[in-house]
């Protein structure tokens, strides 16, 4: 979707403010927000693609006006509600929720280290060889999907070069909507700055994106 999250090349957000190391959280609730999001995700009811789509589906003014972990919490509430794990009545009166036995997939404190260290493998085997090879010229397709996509607007319609072929990966555009993993070849595609930004590009700059095969056409 052409949502507020697709920020590459937008203007008007002001300077970037550097920050020293060692401050991952700036309020106690931010740490709880991160942990709740990871622990709820471990229930296995939604994928990382669905959770990204929940964030970018927030109303644009809300997305742009919220801090990062605010976005995470708003999206987590939406995901929990969509999947029947949170009701408006519970939300209105947390202290009256009756205690229940642990869910079979509840992430136990003792399992956190191994679950985080294992991660999730997003690579998948493919049925057919990749269509493109390193060095091929490709155009990022001029597409505007209504659902989740990972093809940023700023490359659509522009010509770049395949730099690397990474094998098969879960396709977020289907996976975010419960429509299957539908793995496709993933490529690193490099665009000259001038191809993307014309005469307003900084000289000598280039930008790459990682693009699934159906985002690309021969150029």
């Amino acid at each position: 979707m052409n949502g507020p999250h697709d920020l590459g090349g937008q203007m008007g957000f002001g300077p970037v403010a550097p920050e020293p190391e060692g401050q991952p959280f700036h309020a106690a609730w931010e740490a709880r927000a991160l942990a709740l999001t990871l622990a709820a995700g471990a229930l296995g009811r939604w994928s990382i693609d669905e959770s990204r789509h929940a964030r970018e589906s927030l109303p644009p003014a809300v997305y742009l006006g919220s801090s990062y972990f605010q976005i995470w919490i708003l999206a987590l509430e939406a995901l929990l509600t969509r999947h029947g794990l949170l009701t408006p009545a519970e939300h209105a009166a947390p202290e009256s929720v009756e205690p229940a036995a642990p869910h079979p997939r509840r992430l136990a404190g003792s399992a956190v280290a191994s679950v985080l260290a294992a991660g999730t493998d997003y690579a998948r085997p493919l049925d057919a060889p990749p269509r493109f090879r390193p060095g091929d010229r490709v155009r990022a397709r001029n597409i505007h999907p209504r659902g989740h996509t990972r093809l940023p607007r700023y490359v659509r319609g522009h010509i770049g070069t395949i730099e690397a072929v990474h094998g098969g990966f879960i396709f977020p555009d289907t996976h975010a909507h419960g429509a299957g993993e539908a793995p496709q070849p993933l490529y690193t595609v490099v665009f000259d700055g001038a191809a993307l930004w014309g005469p307003d590009a900084e000289p000598g700059s280039s930008v790459s994106v990682d693009a699934w095969e159906s985002y690309l056409e021969p150029a």
Binding site: P18, Q23, A28, E30, H91, P94, H103, S205, D210
Partner: protein, 207 residues
């Protein structure tokens, strides 16, 4: 500092997000969906255990061991796993090496993709609207705001992390570091070096 020891039970400020998150935690805990001990462990992990010192060790080893650097180029996931750094948001790693001609800069314009096992959680600026918007269209202007001015003939390559590949920038080894051991080398490597918004410190400045 208070944010180094998040303790939701004794925090009295009136931030509406504090109340909202606490309510959600209460509901999910009562319903048996989350274990408060798991929340504490997740926070402890990313506040204290997993951070950019991991990545700095990877860079120092790459500077010190040409065979390891070659492995890192060919299969960064395996090479980094060999140092014990694996898992969430680092499942598919790519190491990108700065050269005399080309400087690398990493961004995620669509969200905040970042290599957690080697760098920890991203800094606020990496997740900010400004960085995500500007890194791809005016990387030199962004680097200048970090105090980094590269020669005009140095090319800048920006890596937009749009898939599940996670990028670690391997900066060039500074001159005058021949006698340093790996711990001393790692001390020259800041988090920002491994995102691409800084260069390693000179050895005399690191003491």
């Amino acid at each position: 500092m208070p944010h180094d020891h998040p303790d939701h039970h004794h925090d009295n400020h009136l931030d509406p997000m504090e109340a909202r998150v606490r309510a959600l935690e209460t509901i999910l805990t009562r319903k048996g969906l989350v274990d408060p001990a798991a929340l504490d462990t997740i926070i402890e992990t990313y506040a204290q255990k997993i951070g950019p010192r991991n990545g700095a060790q990877v860079v120092a080893r790459a500077w010190d061991d040409a065979a390891f650097a070659g492995w890192l180029r060919r299969d960064a996931t395996a090479a980094i796993a060999d140092m014990g750094f694996t898992g969430r948001q680092g499942e598919h790693m790519q190491a990108v090496f700065n050269t005399d001609d080309c400087h690398n800069l990493v961004v995620c314009t669509l969200c905040s993709c970042y290599p957690w096992p080697v760098l920890g959680l991203p800094p606020v600026w990496y997740k900010s609207l400004a960085y995500r918007a500007r890194a791809v269209i005016e990387p030199r202007a962004v680097l200048a705001e970090f105090g980094l001015s590269l020669p005009q003939d140095t090319r800048i390559r920006v890596w937009d992390s749009t898939a599940e590949l996670r990028y670690l920038v391997i900066p060039q080894r500074p001159e005058g570091t021949e006698g340093l051991d790996r711990d001393a080398l790692a001390a020259l490597v800041s988090r920002d070096c491994m995102i691409g918004t800084a260069l390693p410190r000179a050895p005399e400045a690191a003491a």
